[in-house]
């Protein structure tokens, strides 16, 4: 019993895992089609995209900032990627490399401006959101690019085995890499240290410039991958890609227990947060919930997730107070 309470219940991801399993069981009980191969495939597809988007935001939350331009970067990369192939005849690898480079560069701009000017990332990325989206519209004049090479379309559609799409490979690799980054590498720990306390981390010899720019570059890089994944999925490069990313990008990390002030993110819990959001939006369709209710439900869902997190935090605080109290008894 003690084993349980100490090891698992404390972890952010444990409760979420229960929620995922439970909701899976409940939904498939009412609608067996939920577990059908095609449905799992569809679920995995939507998880793949939102995983990347959530990670892109999560790493910025880790350093205690926000990146409003995640979607704008994704969109800009998506249309550049397709545009370069369609208009300028780039080969696929070159187009991918250029797309990734654009993402890196956009992220670098965000990070550089934030750390060098000392202006809050919220404002900087609000401005760059406009700049990147503006470039997107300026380049495309709102016209999509349609000429997507067959191999990319196939990549977006093909399945590895059973219901598992090829598309999910990259997001899974990213998730593993992110877990390693945040838990097992010096630069990841530096980011979390910076997110915990800018002042302390600086005094510990951690360079803010390096931390902030690295985080934003990674965020831009992931947003770029997200943008290209959408292209594979939709099989067209439309300027609207990324417009709807903002809310999901925050929802998953927050459900995963991330602290917006920084310094605490959990990659596994974020991934589970993504799965929960995906399951619930699917359940809304499966159960034919009146579209008028969807908005309201989504709102309450976020509130409930936050309440649960908050309650656990409260418990933890109590525990610590008592702990310190006991420690001082020694």
């Amino acid at each position: 019993m003690n084993f349980f309470s100490q090891e698992y219940f404390k972890k952010d991801w444990f409760g979420l895992l229960i929620v995922v399993l439970l909701s899976g069981v409940i939904i498939s009980f009412f609608k067996p089609a939920f577990l059908s191969s095609f449905n799992l495939y569809v679920l995995m597809l939507s998880v793949s995209l939102w995983l990347v988007v959530a990670m892109s935001q999560m790493i910025i939350i880790a350093i205690g900032q926000m990146n409003l331009s995640v979607g704008a970067i994704g969109g800009l990369v998506a249309i550049s990627f397709t545009g370069l192939m369609e208009v300028h005849g780039f080969s696929i690898p070159y187009a991918i490399l250029t797309g990734l480079f654009i993402g890196l560069f956009c992220g670098f701009i965000n990070g550089f401006l934030t750390v060098k000017t000392g202006i809050s990332a919220f404002i900087i990325t609000l401005a760059t959101l406009y700049i990147f989206k503006g470039m997107n519209l300026g380049i495309t004049e709102a016209q999509p690019f349609y000429q997507i090479p067959e191999s990319i379309k196939n990549f977006g559609n093909a399945k590895i085995i059973g219901p598992v799409p090829y598309l999910i490979i990259i997001p899974i690799i990213i998730t593993v890499m992110m877990w390693l980054l945040m838990n097992k590498t010096q630069s990841g720990r530096n980011m979390l240290a910076y997110g915990n306390s800018v002042q302390s981390s600086e005094l510990m010899g951690i360079s803010p410039t390096k931390v902030v720019i690295t985080a934003h570059v990674i965020s831009g890089f992931l947003a770029a991958i997200g943008g290209m994944l959408v292209v594979c999925r939709l099989q067209l490069g439309t300027p609207n890609i990324g417009d709807s990313w903002l809310l999901p990008s925050f929802a998953a990390p927050v459900i995963g227990g991330a602290v917006l002030a920084g310094g605490k993110v959990d990659v596994i819990a974020t991934a589970l947060g993504v799965i929960i959001v995906a399951i619930i939006s699917q359940a809304l369709v499966i159960f034919k919930i009146d579209p008028f209710f969807v908005q309201i439900l989504l709102g309450f869902m976020i509130l409930i997730a936050v309440f649960i997190n908050r309650y656990r935090e409260y418990k933890e605080e109590r525990r610590k107070k008592i702990f310190i109290y006991e420690a001082s008894h020694e």
Partner: protein
């Protein structure tokens, strides 16, 4: 060849309008514990910042191991073996102790990933070295303040620092914890070839710990690397403030039929206070003494309604009351609280003097349509700010631009203006220079004479004994003793200690 590991020669540093350092010298001998003293504004912190690479001196030299060097950043200073243990705890609170200790260079496996087993093993060695019985896996936020501080020192050692700067390290430690700290410091100086610069306002500690002393006054050396044996407390104070110290004469008050203004009966709180019984008479000063974590500040916060009281009664003027917020406490029962944490809980640093001093009386002096002008506030708080001799160019000066002592005066002034009947004063002289300290002591006595009842929370035993009428000793969230103050230091301190170590 001398054996100096750090030397500063004729350093000057000018800020617009101020000459912060004026040809100051500083010599740190290898293996010594060197006290750096001075009033606030004497140039101490400028000197420290030059040593740690935050500032660069305008003229003069900085030598490390007799080699002239220039330090451009704290990181560079750290690389040269100079570390600071700050007043504010500078650990990553969500990280484990072990990771904090080695954060600059975490041991990695062949894939470049952090090897946590090794992290905890290696950090354990440093903790052992300091006689610290902490599991390196413990999350920092679970530690007591004293242990955090010791961890910080361990961290400085772990990055191979050979010069440690300790800035007011004991300000929130209990005597026992201080004693432990000093033992550790003496041990590392002895065994690890470390030299220490010790900054403190508590002269007793300087005499106990240090072997050399440098005093700054108005940016100049009042003495340079004097051996501590040659000095007395009086000499030192004179060097610091340029005149003799005025010892507060603690007069024993006649405790005659005082009216009880505050009475706690069998209070139990959610935080764990157990069966607290306490009375406070009109014009009385009671001291709450205890170790950090004994529940003193927490009790004060329960009284203000910030934490829940589970059972028991609070009586004010013998009427039972419910206190649910500091607002109720102030508005209805005239209870005020001067926090130990000036910057976080006491003052609004981004606001000016007037706003800070007037905050408690806004509601009282507002007029029609809740109209409230600066002029009206000015009229109300001006007498108090004057009375406290606050040094500020104008009332529109930002509080953050004032010195620590003047900041403390403002946080007192706002409660004077509020005209409280009961004032809870938490560690009023932490980080405050001797001149202001004695001034604040006089002020507290004066307030009590005028009829304000005072609850004084302090870890400073001399302060406690010179001010309190009664000393209440707390331990483990309980009241252990209630001792009328004899104002005899030896007698009182042994009595108090007896309660804590029974």
């Amino acid at each position: 060849m001398n054996n100096l590991c750090l030397e500063i020669k004729e350093a000057s540093k000018k800020f617009p309008g101020v000459l912060a350092l004026d040809n100051a010298d500083f010599k740190l001998k290898k293996g010594s514990i060197h006290a750096l003293l001075g009033e606030n504004g004497a140039g101490k912190s400028t000197l420290i910042k030059i040593i740690t690479g935050l500032y660069k001196q305008d003229t003069g030299k900085l030598l490390i191991n007799n080699v002239e060097t220039s330090l451009n950043s704290p990181t560079e200073a750290q690389n040269r073996g100079i570390s600071v243990v700050h007043q504010e705890r500078n650990l990553i609170r969500r990280f484990s102790v072990g990771e904090n200790l080695l954060l600059n260079d975490l041991p990695k496996n062949k894939f470049g990933l952090i090897n946590y087993k090794l992290v905890f093993e290696r950090s354990k060695e440093w903790l052992d070295l300091m006689d610290l019985n902490i599991d390196p896996r413990t999350v920092v936020s679970d530690l007591t303040v004293a242990k955090m501080q010791l961890c910080e020192i361990a961290k400085a050692l772990s990055i191979k620092s050979r010069i440690l700067l300790l800035d007011e390290p004991t300000s929130s430690l209990s005597p026992q914890e201080t004693e432990h700290l000093f033992k550790v410091l003496q041990k590392i100086v002895r065994e690890e070839d470390v030299s220490i610069v010790f900054v403190s306002h508590k002269l007793e500690e300087v005499f106990e710990l240090c072997d050399q002393v440098t005093v700054l006054r108005d940016g100049k050396n009042a003495c340079t690397s004097e051996s501590i044996n040659k000095l007395t407390r009086q000499n030192l104070v004179k060097l610091m403030i340029g005149r003799e110290e005025q010892i507060i004469k603690s007069e024993k008050k006649v405790v005659s039929d005082q009216k009880t203004v505050l009475r706690l009966e069998k209070i139990n709180t959610e935080l764990g206070h157990h069966d607290i019984n306490l009375t406070l008479g009109k014009g009385e000063i009671i001291g709450l003494y205890g170790l950090v974590g004994s529940g003193r500040t927490e009790l004060a916060k329960c009284l203000l309604g910030l934490e829940k009281i589970v059972s028991g009664q609070i009586k004010i003027n013998e009427n039972e009351v419910r206190l649910d917020s500091p607002k109720t406490a102030l508005d209805r029962f005239k209870i005020g609280y001067i926090s130990e944490d000036r910057k976080k809980e006491g003052l609004i640093l981004m606001h000016n003097v007037l706003e800070n001093a007037g905050i408690t009386i806004w509601s009282k002096i507002k007029s029609f349509l809740s109209f409230l002008s600066d002029k009206a506030i000015h009229a109300k708080v001006d007498p108090f700010i004057r009375e406290l001799e606050v040094k500020t160019p104008s009332y529109s000066q930002l509080i953050s631009n004032l010195s620590g002592g003047n900041q403390q005066k403002i946080s007192v002034a706002k409660w004077l203006a509020a005209g409280t009947d009961i004032l809870i004063i938490d560690e009023p002289t932490v980080g405050i220079d001797i001149k202001t300290k004695s001034y604040i002591h006089e002020l507290i006595i004066g307030l009590a004479k005028k009829g304000t009842s005072i609850v004084l929370i302090s870890s400073d035993m001399p302060e406690m004994i010179s001010l309190a009428d009664r000393v209440i000793v707390m331990k483990n969230f309980k009241i252990e003793g209630n001792e009328p103050n004899s104002h005899n230091y030896a007698d009182m301190s042994s009595k108090i200690m007896a309660y804590i170590h029974d």
